[in-house]
């Protein structure tokens, strides 16, 4: 397979059990480079668990995960991150005591090549400061720069979460319900933000808001009870009988 046609992310018979219950029951999925892929499904379907498997938070019980063709088996989250995959969390996961600026700066350090250096002064690096400020500008939090991240409003914290996720320049971005719990205007703001910051990147997103999903995604996978019951273009998935029955009809109705 040449690099241009190789999928960015490939799941192959992926399984995960917690104790006796199998939560992910054999997932096959290939997500192309530069694709925006949405994963939808009812509560408890295993969407976040799937994210946790891909990013190395949990070990899988079977199957393979390949990022740009490299098997991720046995790799730690930080190793996977260094391979160019970055994620956000369903429940905001930031550094609440550090300032907004520092949150972003910390997420830049590795890719900027500082590693574990104890001989560079972070504040002396113009490159680092400018890159962090550019991210703040992008996520619209420049005015909040020096506040502790913990005091930001919910929507602002979600924006920061996205900022931290994309700051390192990963080319595969995974967002777990980025607009959950947001008002309409806040959702619009976050969707615009996602669109802006993921240009040219592979985006994998879990989302409940169908407006967001059909607006952003190139392709959609429907995960129900640990299995993907359909994958395809939004309009195909929308008209899929199985999906209608299992999930989407109810969700679309609830949306109206």
């Amino acid at each position: 397979m040449s690099t241009s046609t190789m999928p960015a992310l490939e799941l192959d018979g992926l399984r995960k059990s917690f104790g006796k219950t199998e939560i992910i029951r054999g997932v096959d999925l290939a997500i192309g480079r530069g694709e925006r892929h949405a994963i939808i499904g009812p509560n408890g379907a295993g969407k976040s668990t799937l994210f946790n498997l891909i990013t190395g938070r949990f070990p899988n019980s079977g199957g393979h995960i390949r990022l740009h063709g490299n098997d991720l088996a046995g790799r730690q989250p930080f190793e996977i991150n260094r391979m160019g995959l970055s994620r956000s969390f369903q429940i905001t996961n930031i550094f609440p005591k550090m300032t907004v600026f520092e949150n972003v700066r910390c997420s830049l350090l590795w890719t900027k090549g500082y590693k574990y250096s104890f001989w560079h002064m972070v504040s002396r690096s113009r490159d680092l400061t400018q890159a962090a400020e550019a991210i703040l500008e992008q996520i619209n939090l420049t005015a909040r720069r020096d506040l502790p991240a913990g005091v930001l409003s919910y929507a602002e914290q979600r924006a920061l979460e996205i900022g931290i996720t994309i700051a390192g320049g990963a080319d595969v971005i995974m967002l777990d319900e980025p607009t959950a719990g947001m008002s309409h205007s806040e959702t619009d703001y976050i969707v615009e933000l996602i669109r802006k910051v993921t240009v040219g990147k592979t985006l994998i997103m879990v989302e409940h808001d169908m407006g967001v999903v059909f607006g952003l995604a190139d392709r959609i996978s429907v995960l129900v009870y640990g299995e993907i019951i359909a994958t395809g273009k939004p309009e195909d998935v929308r008209s899929d009988a199985k999906v209608q029955e299992a999930y989407l009809g109810a969700a679309l109705e609830a949306d109206h």
Binding site: N81, Y116, F118, M121
Partner: protein
């Protein structure tokens, strides 16, 4: 970003403003022996300076890295004992190793031990880390009794710091010469530890302390970040150990024991783990309590313990936290609002504390003084510790003082809140930010 804003962008590096505290502190340390020139004072100051280095090193773990160690004295001890042996070896073989360099070897041995222990103890920061540190502390304390050749058993290992050739004419015979040697290492170590906190490894130590999981998803191994802080902390603890060896010229198992490990935890927490300078205050206050109060009363540890418990319960930020609570008031120029309410609460509170201390002293004297010796003197007053009146007075002072303090405490709290709140009409510009963020927060 435009060119103008780029060139105008300030990079906080070494500026007059952030070099000033260091220069002032150094100058202060240099002239201190001229103010307190008694030999006893210099002895206390030497002890204090070494404790400051140790406490700052400890806070690299506790405050910066979120690792609670119950056995950090082993790294101080490792450095100290090694320096003692080097001192003796160099004397025996007349090697040209100048004394002022010796603490560096202490640091290297502290670092060496930390690289070994840290390799398995920094896997997590929680209870497991704390328990391993306690275990290692216990282990080395046991070794110090068993391995007599290295630790000297009960007698310890003595050394002679005046072994070598004079260092530029200084022979380190006198305490004052040792003082200047110690503060050289104090300023150097403190500066390096401060700078460490500003490096990628230091910033990520904070990040891992607050949210290790998120740090892992940013490319950092939380374990490696902890390990680096741990090793750095062991290095500076070792330097403190080397200085201790030079200062005391004898080390025993106590100098790496669990008691000292507990003491440094207490000192660091008392001073405040949230700010770089917190442990410095803690070390100064504790050394003063131990030496000055320790001379006055056998019960000094009781008072230090009570102070510690009160700090943990009411001021988890320690002395530094209490000080920094007043930074906003100072910025707004409103500190004077606090003077009267503070006097109204703190003066009765002071008397309550003194009354309680008097009560404990009387009880202690009654129980423990030799039979027939009923006279005692506290607060410049001599009386019979077995009579009822003094006890009644101390109880009375405590109760009344406490009651008065408690009654005016709400006013004090209110005054503090008023002092950190910008004035409505005049402070419009200063108040813009909080008001703005409130509006945003309310809107979501």
């Amino acid at each position: 970003m435009s060119d103008i804003s780029q060139s105008a962008m300030k990079l906080p590096g070494i500026t007059a403003a952030n070099a000033a505290p260091w220069l002032i502190a150094t100058l202060f340390l240099l002239v201190l022996p001229f103010i307190f020139s008694a030999n006893s004072a210099i002895t206390i100051m030497n002890q204090m300076a070494i404790t400051i280095i140790f406490a700052l090193a400890y806070n690299m773990l506790l405050g910066q890295g979120g690792m609670l160690s119950f056995g950090h004295a082993v790294y101080l001890g490792a450095g100290g004992f090694m320096c003692m042996h080097i001192m003796n070896y160099v004397e025996d073989y007349s090697l040209p190793l100048p004394l002022p360099l010796l603490p560096l070897f202490g640091g290297i041995f502290g670092l060496g031990l930390a690289t070994i222990v840290g390799a398995f103890s920094t896997r997590s920061a929680g209870t497991v880390f704390a328990m391993i540190s306690l275990g290692i502390g216990e282990l080395l304390a046991a070794c110090s009794i068993i391995i007599v050749a290295f630790f000297g058993g009960e007698e310890g290992i003595p050394g002679d710091r005046t072994y070598g050739l004079p260092f530029f004419g200084v022979e380190f015979l006198q305490q004052i010469e040792v003082y200047y040697l110690i503060i050289f290492w104090l300023v150097l170590s403190a500066l390096l530890m401060f700078l460490f906190s500003r490096t990628p490894a230091g910033r990520m130590a904070n990040a891992v302390r607050d949210n290790p999981e998120r740090a892992e998803f940013l490319g950092y191994s939380a374990r490696r970040v902890r390990y680096i802080s741990f090793c750095a902390s062991g290095f500076f603890a070792g330097i403190a150990g080397g200085l201790l060896a030079i200062n005391l010229e004898i080390l025993t198992g106590e100098d790496l024991g669990l008691l000292l490990s507990g003491e440094i935890l207490l000192i660091t927490f008392l001073g405040g783990v949230g700010f770089f300078f917190g442990p410095i205050i803690g070390a100064i206050v504790f050394t003063l309590l131990k030496t000055v109060l320790g001379l006055e009363t056998e019960l000094w540890q009781l008072y230090v313990g009570a102070l510690f418990v009160a700090t943990v319960m009411y001021f988890p930020g320690g002395f530094a936290g209490v000080l920094m609570m007043h930074a906003p008031s100072a910025k707004l120029g409103k500190l004077k609002l606090l003077v009267v309410p503070y006097i109204k609460t703190l003066v009765p509170a002071f008397f309550a504390v003194m009354g309680a201390a008097g009560f404990f002293e009387i009880m202690f004297h009654m129980r423990h003084a030799a039979v027939g010796e009923e006279e005692m003197t506290i607060f410049w007053t001599t009386f019979n510790s077995h009579s009822v009146l003094p006890t009644a007075v101390t109880i009375g002072v405590t109760v009344v003082g406490f009651w008065l303090a408690k009654r005016s405490a709400p006013d004090m709290a209110a005054a503090w809140h008023a002092s950190i709140t910008p004035n409505k009409p005049a402070g419009a510009s200063a108040g813009e930010r909080p008001a703005d963020s409130q509006a945003q927060g309310g809107g979501s």
